[in-house]
């Protein structure tokens, strides 16, 4: 498309034809107050009327998020008429909004509060009836509070785009309209993956993770031995909670902060990831050798496991029986670590910091507990909750020194573990170890770059041990469905498939820091298109810096097997590190 001449506030600009006024203005350096994500299509209903401007050639004021620029158009953002109209739009939204902003956990990331400030909305201008609301706190993962919903529909669009599901939808009509699962049911009674993608796009506090910070407080108050572990993807995002540029790796500061928060031990889930690779790679090789069920699918992502159980209950034997890395780590902490340190497992409280809301649900699965019913993991908090916890403690994150994780017993990790946080990472980590097992030597270049990249679906064919292995990597259930349909029909060409629920993998998980362009004036204009790459780069660079790059070379993993577990996939490993799935989950209750 060609360039056209327009004027904004009397200044001439050349912009691309076809852009909306909002996008064009943004490129020219004007952020029109709006509730938009600037992300072509996600909430382009044009119904909130927050971004009204004057534009020549249009009748009345126009919603700049949907109105396209035209040659010669003169746009006025700060005319008295436009300023007043935007303020009124926000005041009307606020009139039907639960304004408990002081107590709302979203208040530092609330786009409605932001436009209220920007437009100068006044208090209680319009008072009257409010739409009856629903508060759903049933699942351990996501809280839905429709008293804070502005009906933008971003959550609906995201669920559909990422997973092809749209668990959420608009219900009823006019003033009674709310957004919820069919029948205004709880997420618990709907086929929701609990992945939190909807949470990550919600402009207000209508969708949030269910906080578990209180559980940590309680465990500490009870004098428990509280151990924390952090998932690989968290380090690539946590800095954003403290205003750092997206993609700033903060591994050292995170370890330092966790130590100052009073955790008895600060470990990295990467150890669990290395352990997962040992188990998963050996499970795969054994399936290949013994004509077991193939293709084998990874099982690290709890949102994906939910999807598999809800929609492909007849294909669950394709799922690796491996527990996810933080669950393995938890199981080892409450057995091996407990025995080694003479601590009663009942006194150990394991906290996982995860980029994920589905992990909160996962940890409560009955199958992820020991024989005595003691859960492997006791609390899961998101990257955002960790940010809150650090802020609450008064720690100045930016000024912390870089420290290491605790290194004893289950502390060291390899670069293979680090890259679990990005789509293709589990596959690459598994290939590094599978290559060694089949070829008897390390893969020369170390990196399997053919499985990297943020596309929703990738495939590669590799030759190992004289055999061709065809693999696929998929993220976002919209990309997984065709693969599963092939598996169900018995015509899948693959041997091994990595599946991650969230598009791009855990770096873009539903528990990661919010990426809201309107609140990130210092990031690039196209940050929504580039933030995943930036976070992925943080992980790949940490991988490069590690002394060990393959899970099987982790000395503490080797020690764990030689001194405690025996062999991968052996009897003891199976008891502690493998799990079962539910084939009979009902989609609608």
């Amino acid at each position: 498309m060609g360039l056209i001449d327009i004027k904004i506030e009397g200044q001439p600009y050349k912009v691309e034809e076809g852009l909306t006024i909002l996008e064009a203005a943004r490129q020219c350096g004007y952020d029109i107050p709006s509730l938009c994500t600037f992300n072509h299509g996600e909430c382009s209903l044009g119904s909130c009327r927050v971004c009204l401007v004057e534009a020549t050639g249009a009748r009345g004021l126009v919603a700049s998020c949907v109105y396209p620029v035209a040659p010669g158009m003169e746009i006025k953002i700060s005319s008295p008429k436009a300023v007043k109209a935007r303020r009124t739009s926000v005041e009307l939204l606020l009139s039907n909004h639960n304004q408990n902003c002081q107590q709302c956990r979203k208040n530092d990331n609330c786009e409605l509060l932001n436009v209220a400030k920007l437009t100068g909305a006044r208090e209680n201008v319009f008072q009257g009836e409010k739409t009856p609301t629903t508060l759903d706190e049933v699942t351990p993962s996501i809280v839905r509070d429709t008293s804070k919903c502005v009906l933008c529909g971003r959550c609906i669009a995201r669920c559909k785009a990422a997973h092809g599901l749209s668990v959420l939808g608009f219900e009823n009509r006019g003033f009674s309209t709310i957004v919820g699962p069919a029948g205004n049911k709880s997420f618990a009674d709907s086929p929701c993956l609990l992945c939190g993608q909807c949470v990550s796009v919600c402009p207000t506090g209508a969708l949030m993770e269910k906080s578990e910070i209180w559980k940590i407080d309680q465990a500490m108050a009870e004098g428990k031995h509280v151990i924390v572990q952090t998932a690989p993807a968290v380090r690539a995002s946590l800095g954003e909670e403290f205003g750092m540029p997206i993609g700033t790796p903060v591994t050292g500061k995170m370890a330092a902060a966790l130590r100052r928060l009073g955790f008895a031990k600060v470990y990295d889930t990467n150890f669990g990831a290395d352990l997962t690779i040992m188990e998963e790679a050996s499970e795969l090789l054994s399936r290949i050798k013994n004509n077991g069920t193939l293709p084998m699918l990874t099982s690290c992502s709890p949102g994906w496991v939910n999807y598999a159980e809800y929609y492909y209950g007849d294909c669950l034997d394709h799922l690796s029986t491996c527990k996810s890395p933080h669950e393995m780590e938890g199981a080892i902490l409450k057995s091996y670590y407990a025995e080694w340190n003479h601590i009663d497992p009942k006194d150990i409280f394991v906290v996982s910091v995860m980029p994920c809301t589905a992990k909160k649900f996962e940890k409560e699965r009955p199958a992820l507990a020991n024989e005595a019913g003691l859960p492997d993991v006791d609390a899961v908090i998101t990257t955002r909750e960790l940010g809150d916890l650090i802020k609450r403690s008064g720690i100045n994150f930016a000024k912390l020194p870089d420290e290491d994780f605790d290194q004893d017993l289950v502390g060291t990790y390899t670069g293979a573990g680090v890259i679990f946080g990005v789509t293709g990472g589990v596959m690459e980590a598994a290939l590094r170890s599978a290559y060694f097992a089949l070829e008897g030597k390390e893969y020369g270049p170390i990196n399997f770059t053919e499985v990297r990249g943020l596309q929703g679906l990738k495939e590669a064919t590799l030759t190992m041990g004289g055999k061709e292995i065809k693999v696929a990597i998929a993220s976002g259930m919209v990309n997984v469905k065709p693969i599963m349909d092939d598996i169900r029909a018995g015509k899948s060409p693959y041997t091994f498939i990595e599946v991650m629920c969230c598009p791009g993998g855990c770096i873009a998980g539903g528990g990661q820091s919010y990426v809201k362009p309107a609140l990130l004036p210092n990031e690039d204009l196209n940050i929504l298109d580039t933030y995943k790459e930036k976070r992925a780069a943080a992980l790949y660079s940490e991988d490069e810096r590690q002394a060990y790059r393959q899970s099987h070379n982790n000395p503490q993993i080797q020690h764990l097997y030689s001194g405690y577990l025996g062999v991968p996939n052996g009897h003891k490993a199976h008891k502690l590190l493998h799990t079962t799935y539910q084939s009979d989950r009902v989609r609608f209750k």
Partner: protein, 160 residues
């Protein structure tokens, strides 16, 4: 899903079959179900979802948006009182209130004997004969409060 009996399941599936080759079949399917099955409970929406690939949340949104669709069974005779602007200024509110009093049900409800459902409609485009009432497709023009008991009686007598 188990709550539907075999005959109902077959009926819903047959309706879905009619529109198997239609590009955007949802409204047609829902209209037919409403007309032939009488209402569209969530169990039925689940079947339509399975058949069309449209999520239940989306279908539920459509069903709750249009007042023509109902989540609960409707009576044998569905009385629709238009409350659009023209009918309203011609005292339609009094007419619907009279139906409500006579049948002892509020708008949106169905009588205990399952005979009558009373619906408040937005403009049905019959402004020239306001206030208008429709009963199972039959239009009653310029209805007065006094006519209401007779109209009800005429349907009751068909049942006797």
């Amino acid at each position: 899903m188990a709550k539907l009996n075999g005959a109902a399941l077959a009926q819903i599936n047959a309706i879905c079959d009619r529109y198997a080759d239609t590009k955007t079949p949802l409204m047609m399917i829902l209209s037919d179900i409403q007309r032939e099955y009488g209402y569209i409970p969530i169990e039925v929406q689940e079947i339509v979802s399975e058949r069309t690939g449209i999520s239940v949340a989306e279908i539920y949104g459509v069903v709750t948006f249009y007042s023509f669709f109902s989540l609960t069974p409707k009576g044998k005779y569905v009385i629709g009182c238009c409350l659009g602007t023209a009918c309203y200024v011609k005292d339609a509110q009094k007419v619907i209130d009279k139906f409500s009093d006579e049948l002892k049900i509020a708008p949106g409800q169905t009588s205990d004997d399952g005979l009558f459902t009373l619906d408040a409609l937005r403009c049905i485009g019959a402004c020239g004969i306001a206030p208008a009432v429709t009963i199972n497709g039959t239009v009653y023009p310029k209805v007065t409060v006094d006519q209401v008991p007779e109209i009800i009686a005429s349907y009751r007598s068909q049942e006797a």
